[in-house]
Structure formats: C-alpha cells, structure tokens
C-alpha cells in the first residue's frame, strides 16, 4: 500500500464533505476509479485538483470531447508523419516507436511517481467509450500493436472520472468504479465553500445573497438552475458594486450573473414578485 487510508482530507481551497472524502479514500485504497457525478458547478473537476495538491501528486487531465476515442487516451500512432518521413528520407522510419505518442492514460501509466488522472466529462464521448477502457482501467495496462509492446502502470494511478449525465454509462464499466454523487451543497456547506473564496465578506450581504440564491433554486419552472460558481460570481459582483444588502431580495441586482436565460429571469421575477429595475 502506498497510502494509508484516510490520506485525503480536502485541501485549503476545496471543501469536501465527509462522504466524498470517504469515497475518495475507498477508491484509492481499492485501486478503483472513482466516478463522480453531480450538477454542473458542484466541483467535480476541482476534486481531482484538490486530491493531487493535497497528496502532492502530479495531475494529468484527459478532457473528453464528443469526438474523443478511447484509443487516443492510450496512444496515437502518427502514420502520416511516418509516411512523410519515409518520403523525404528523414529520421529513422524503421523505428516505429518514434511515431507512437502516448495519450493521457498512457502517460499516467509510465509516470515515475503515482499520478492523479482526471478523465473529465466521460459522458461527452460516444456511448461505447467507457466500455472500450474497461480492460485498461482494470488491468492498468495496454498493448501497442505497432511496436508489440505492453505498457503497464508502474504505479496504479488514482483515477477520477467525472460525468454530468444520468444513465448512459454502461453497467460493466460502473461495476468497476466506486461511485459518488455530489449533492448540491446545503446552506451550511455553501457557507464554508464561500468562505474559502472570500476573505472580507460582510456577513449580512452573504446572508441575504444566500437566501435569494436558494429561493431562486427552488423556483420550479427555471430551466437552468444557478450553481455554486454562479453564486460566487454574483456575490463578487454585489460586493464590488456595493449594493446594500437589504436591497438584494428587492430587485435582484445582476440577475444575469445567476440566470443565463431570459425565460428563467422572467419566471423568477414572477415567482418572487420582484420590483422592476434595470
């Protein structure tokens, strides 16, 4: 064991719930990827950064896009470069290894020290994507056909996988993960999160802003609920502009920071009976 259980306890700039902390430590101890889901803005991506910084490990980020293929995380064989080199007699074309570039997962495997690997937004890729990585994540190794070489993890990386979506991750994949759903922080937790971001926040302003924020989130008709990062931006805007705290609930200044859709702003105004003002 490289780790003692309970090594991860959050970091200075990231507030972690005991449940999440527990899940992280279980995943590290069992050597299984931790799959983290939750509403946008609940700090899924930041979790990996926090783990890396608090355990003093290197962080490798594999941002998944709709076009990402599982193989790209392992390695890419640059055929075109090799063909060009052979054309112009440049470099040693016989050495295929020169044209193999490791992807993020490959990098994590060959890293000298145990790294933290973040596979971000895995749900964005094609439905088969997670299944294509089963073997690699399970065995922590893969085979490069071109060089007949097996890349095996020197140190089993700590793998954190984030996802926004609900159901599409295949069962065999899920069975191999430790899972945690980050619930939207309650007022208590939110206060400690905000504390991390602000040094000199007036208590009254915070109180009023939080009240308004949770009221907005409770409005049923809005399509995109404001998240933590929007709340932080909003409080910052309120703070800089010096809006008096008692005015916040009255006309919701800078509502556009919280709500990104016009219909949502309308719905909230209707529900909360806001006064009209710019």
């Amino acid at each position: 064991m490289q780790h003692h259980f309970g090594d991860f306890a959050g970091s200075a700039d990231y507030v972690v719930t005991p449940e999440l902390m527990h899940a992280v430590n279980v995943s590290i101890a069992l050597g299984k990827p931790l799959l983290v889901k939750g509403e946008p803005g609940t700090g899924k991506t930041m979790l990996a950064e926090s783990i890396a910084s608090s355990l003093g490990k290197e962080l490798l980020v594999w941002s998944v896009k709709s076009t990402t293929k599982a193989r790209e995380g392992l390695y890419v064989y640059d055929t075109v470069q090799r063909l060009y080199d052979s054309q112009f007699n440049e470099g040693d074309v016989a050495d295929i290894g020169k044209y193999i570039r490791l992807g993020k997962l490959g990098e994590a495997f060959v890293a000298k020290e145990q790294p933290v690997l973040l596979i971000d937004e895995i749900d964005k890729a094609d439905l088969e994507f997670p299944n294509d990585l089963l073997w690699e994540l399970d065995r922590m190794e893969f085979y490069i056909h071109e060089t007949k070489e097996t890349i095996r993890a020197k140190n089993r990386p700590i793998v954190i996988i984030t996802s926004n979506a609900e159901k599409e991750l295949p069962d065999p994949f899920l069975r191999r993960c430790v899972f945690h759903y980050i619930a939207f922080p309650d007022k208590e937790q939110m206060k400690s999160i905000i504390d991390v971001h602000f040094d000199d926040l007036e208590a009254n302003l915070l109180e009023r802003a939080m009240e308004a924020f949770y009221e907005i989130r409770d409005v049923r008709d809005i399509q995109k609920k404001p998240s933590t990062s929007e709340l932080i931006d909003w409080i910052r805007a309120l703070q800089i502009s010096g809006v008096p705290a008692e005015k916040i609930a009255e006309y919701l200044p800078f509502a556009g920071v919280l709500l990104k859709k016009n219909q949502d702003i309308d719905a909230v105004s209707r529900k909360l009976g806001l006064q009209k003002k710019g």
Partner: protein, 417 residues
C-alpha cells in the same frame, strides 16, 4: 472460549449478512457479486470505521452506481436494519456479523459463484477463515473488533437507529438510518419524473451506424493510402474515408391538444431532449390535435393554415424514418372512428382518424406511441376506449425514461409489421 452461545451468535450473524445481500437484490438494488466482493475487500482492509454510518457510506459508494439508485438503496438499508433491530434486540450480533460473518459469507458466496470470480482462491479463503476462528478464541462473542479507542460501541445500547452517530465534520450528528430514511435522493428515481437530459440520454440509444451517410471523407484510410501511394510510384498519396455516422431519421408526431396540457412538463422535457439531440441524421417534428387527419401542424398551436398535408409528409419522408407518436390517446370515440370526427371547428374529414393512423403505421414500419398517462391508468382513464384501440394499433409505452428506453429498443428491432 468459544461457547455454544458464541457459535449460535456467529450462525445468526452469517445469516444476517447473506440475507442483507439477498435483501438488496430483492429490493431491486442492482448489486453484482463483483461489487459485493469489493465491499468485503474494503471491509477486510479496514476501510470501514466503527460506525454504521461509515458502513452505510462504504456500502453505498461501492454497491450503488447511480444517484437514481440512491433512494432505492436508502429504503432497502433502512428497512433491513430496522427489521434487524426489531427482530433481535442484540446489537452485539451486528458486530459479530461485521467482523466475522464476512469471511464465511464470502466463502459461501464463492462456492456458489466460483467460476465468475477467479480473483479469490478457495484455499486462501479457508486459511483466512481458520485464522479468524483462531482469533475468535481470544474474544467473546460480539467483541469490539471494529471499535476504535473510544471504546463505546456505535451500535451500543438503545439501538443504533435512535442514537446519533458521528460522521465527522463539525459536530454533525446523524445516524445512518436517519440518513437512509431521509431519502434525500428520491427525486432522482428513474421511474419518477425526469429532466430532458435523461430523455436525451435515452434517445442517444436510437442510432445505427454506417459509413454510407453523405459526409465529407475525413478519416485517414491507411490501406487506401498504401494502395494509392504504390500506384503513385511510391510518392505519398493520402486517401481518406468517410467516418461512420448515425443513419437514423426520426419523425416525431406530437399531440398538442388541451388534454395534453397537464402533461406539458413531461412533454416539454421530451421535446427539449429530442431538440438537443444532434445525432440523428434527420429529425422532423409535426403536431396534431387529438388525432391525425388530412393535416399535420407545423407548430404546437395547431392553427389553421400552419400545416402540411399528411399525404405530403408520407410522400416526402421515406419509410426508413422511425416514427414516435406522443399523445394521451384519449378522445371522444367519434374523433377516432367517424368521418367528420375532427373536433377542430370548420374542418370535416372524409376519412376517419383511425384510417389515417393506419396509413401512417403501414407507411412507416418502425413506429411507437409514447403516452404520458401512467400505464396503470390506461384501462380506466377517461377516454380509455380510444386509448385501448390505439394501443392495439401501435406498440404503446409510458412516457418515462424506462418507457422511452423500451420504445427505442422496439424502434431499433428488425422490421416488423
């Protein structure tokens, strides 16, 4: 010393543990043996603190893989441990269960499922078991194996349900049962209502890949390149091929009559999901009012003139389109069966609605009907006669994530008339 009472206690504890596994399965928690063994692995490594709360979180993080399942798990957990308390009133038994029952259970499970899990050798397990039994001699039944230096058992007197158990953080005291009974994840249950994203995810299954779709040739074709290069006298010539794309075309027909109003949230969720799905090769949406006649409307308001001829649609959209009809299917019987049944003022249909629907069914072999009315109400809802007739005509599914998923399977299955 190992007493008879001790053995009896162990026996009970083992049963308790195996029962918990089957209890979870019975409660439809999708727990696989792999995950169960992982849990035991974790317990063996001492990843579980002395409290039931730790045990609850450990179980949940390993056994449950979706927030939609959290609620089910919470209920199963609460139910099981409540029953246990009522049935036995011996909290120590739970200790024994956690510390010793594990090995035996593992072994029992292994014997049953050995071929599935080559990870653990039976011999190894026997050894571990023997080792445990050795240890067992030293302590009395229900020893504090799992208890930290604090000494007091978290499962102590008074039952673990009532007593608050510390889970860390600043003075937050809650018991596992309280957490489980809170059921704060009930909104995520899949058989209940949902947001567009869930539909979107379900819709993503509606796909069929092929490289015959007219797109640009974007992917490097290595074999082609080698051929082309050879043919080019050894000078490099790159060849590209088309990427494989989804070929599915979708025709969505939405009922937007007044009776659908109460389902508007649900329908809007589905509509948004379809709208956001970019993976279809083509998507056409039309609306109708209760039933389909000569016209299909271009907007949900179903205004006169804002329409196309139903025949035009059938003529222009080929039979490879998958058709999803969305509607409650409830209307006056005349609206479906009689000429002139169209309830829109000033419109008279020569052909009864059912005939139009039949033509659509014949024209498009892949078709389903999604109904926002819960299936359990189909037989006695107001307008159940027409709903019944329609469900005979079209494979009908509830408009839920599960219903949509089943429906999509149907749409993808082989031609069937």
């Amino acid at each position: 010393m190992r007493s008879v009472a001790n053995l009896a206690c162990r026996k009970r504890a083992e049963t308790v543990f195996i029962e918990f596994f089957y209890h979870l399965k019975e409660q439809k928690c999708n727990v696989s043996l792999t995950e169960w063994l992982d849990l035991m692995d974790a317990l063996e490594q001492g990843l579980c603190g002395p409290s039931l709360v730790d045990f609850y979180y450990l179980c949940r993080s390993i056994l449950v893989k979706s927030e939609a399942e959290y609620d089910r798990f919470d209920r199963a957990f609460a139910l099981y441990f409540r029953d246990l308390k009522d049935a036995t009133e011996i909290p120590e038994e739970v200790f024994a269960w956690l510390s010793d029952g594990l090995q035996r259970t593992k072994e029992e499970l292994m014997e049953k499922w050995d071929p599935l899990t080559p990870r653990y050798g039976l011999e190894e397990l026997r050894e571990l078991l023997a080792q445990r039994l050795e240890e067992q001699k030293e302590r009395h039944c229900g020893g504090n194996y799992w208890v930290g230096t604090g000494g007091t058992s978290a499962f102590g007197h008074g039952g673990f349900a009532e007593q608050g158990i510390r889970i860390g953080g600043e003075g937050r005291y809650r018991s596992a049962l309280q957490i489980a009974e809170d059921r704060q994840f009930r909104d995520f249950r899949e058989d209940e209502i949902l947001d567009p994203r869930q539909f979107q995810v379900a819709l993503r299954r509606l796909r069929q890949y092929s490289s015959t779709v007219p797109t640009e040739k974007m992917e490097l074709d290595i074999d082609g390149t080698i051929d082309a290069t050879s043919a080019n006298g050894g000078f490099l010539k790159l060849a590209f091929e088309k990427p494989r794309k989804n070929t599915i075309k979708l025709l969505l027909l939405f009922d937007s009559a007044g009776s659908m109003l109460i389902h508007s949230r649900l329908c809007s969720a589905l509509f948004q999901a379809v709208d956001r799905s970019t993976h279809f090769s083509d998507l056409q949406v039309y609306y109708f009012h209760n039933c389909i006649y000569e016209h299909l409307y271009k907007t949900p308001r179903c205004l006169r003139g804002e329409w196309v001829d139903t025949e035009w649609v059938m003529g222009n959209l080929s039979s490879e389109y998958r058709v999803i009809l969305v509607g409650d299917g409830t209307m006056a019987p005349t609206e479906l069966f009689a000429p002139g049944g169209n309830c829109m003022v000033g419109l008279f249909n020569e052909i009864p609605g059912i005939q139009w629907l039949k033509s659509i069914k014949t024209r498009y072999p892949h078709h389903i009907w999604l109904n926002p009315i819960p299936k359990s109400h189909w037989d006695h809802v107001f307008g159940h006669q027409t709903l019944g007739a329609l469900s005979e005509l079209f494979p009908m599914y509830e408009l839920t994530v599960e219903g949509l998923t089943q429906g999509i399977k149907k749409l993808l299955s082989d031609q069937e008339r």
